[in-house]
Symmetry: C2
Subunit: 193 residues, 2 copies
């Protein structure tokens, strides 16, 4: 999506090897009108997916998921990040390692909001090594829900997440795929390789 690629080139900042900061418009400060456009595009890409619910994960996936959900007229459920300490039997849970922070956490969704009757579209702002996505997929599997697609704003194509998910047969659509970002030089790949 050219709109997103242009914005990344204009406002994104590389911050060390493999780290892209887009927190001026996507995941700390939010340009709502811009995110709405990304959400509209995801809604278009998955308009025939049969989704009954959108699943994302706190915090930075929420705004994008809501933007798509508005158009698709679907509810959003966001998974929570926490730890094993205070988790009850009333949640689906999966362990996850954060690429950004190098820490482990537990991802949870209340059993009240996912079921075997759901067809889930997963939406997130970033796809890198795919650890968060694996945890979300574990949770949907635990719930017995179907997954009809995965919509991402920015995929880091040089990490393994996208290749893994496409290999598993998931319908993955990323609005921008970064092929490489050596020495701060961002090169985009095909949107859906």
């Amino acid at each position: 999506m050219k709109l997103l690629e242009d914005r990344i080139l204009r406002d994104g900042m590389t911050a060390g090897p493999g780290v892209l900061k887009v927190d001026s418009f996507l995941n700390h400060q939010i340009d709502v009108a811009f995110l709405d456009k990304l959400g509209e595009e995801l809604a278009r890409l998955f308009s025939d997916s049969g989704a009954t619910k959108i699943l994302t994960v706190e915090a930075s996936g929420i705004a994008l998921a809501c933007a798509a959900a508005r158009v698709m007229k679907l509810p959003v459920v966001f998974a929570k990040k926490g730890n094993r300490r205070n988790v009850g039997a009333d949640v689906f849970a999966a362990d996850c390692r954060s690429f950004t922070h190098g820490t482990d956490y537990l991802m949870t969704v209340s059993r009240s909001y996912l079921s075997s009757g759901d067809t889930i579209l997963i939406i997130d702002d970033f796809l890198a090594d795919g650890n968060a996505m694996r945890a979300l997929l574990t949770i949907t599997k635990e719930a017995g829900a179907a997954v009809c697609g995965i919509g991402i704003a920015i995929e880091k194509g040089f990490q393994g997440g996208g290749a893994y998910l496409r290999g598993e047969g998931y319908r993955l659509r990323s609005l921008a795929v970064i092929e490489s970002m050596n020495d701060g030089n961002i090169v985009f790949g095909r949107e859906n390789p």
Copy 2:
């Protein structure tokens, strides 16, 4: 706001003394069309406030803040929750105690996204004892930004946050104020006492 009061009575659940669960539509599963209506009402209430930016805190404030920001055509900044471990000098930070979880955390906002030139409307889904709001106010003060208003979806009037903020002279507007919720019986007070 009758729409919100009715929804709380229909779908809210009391979960122990002073604990209201509205996670079926507000802060775990999100009814986007419904939240948009709350956002529109907050935008109306603060249309003359002169706000240049909306500040909220992850995770459950984000959807509501974006809903208001869309109408007001303002950017949203969401404060992040973390700990002292990996905080640099590039953030404004304030300690906070969570009423819900009984834990302490550090609230941070990048210095890039708040400044003395900003007039801030703070929006959050809940106001209880006001600890999160105090931390957000500390951060805006540290940034030298003005605060033109505080917009809340659900205020627990029987806790001290609202009285404190009104006493301090803040323009606080809560779309629903719960006066008491003894034995699961929810009683609403005046919206803006």
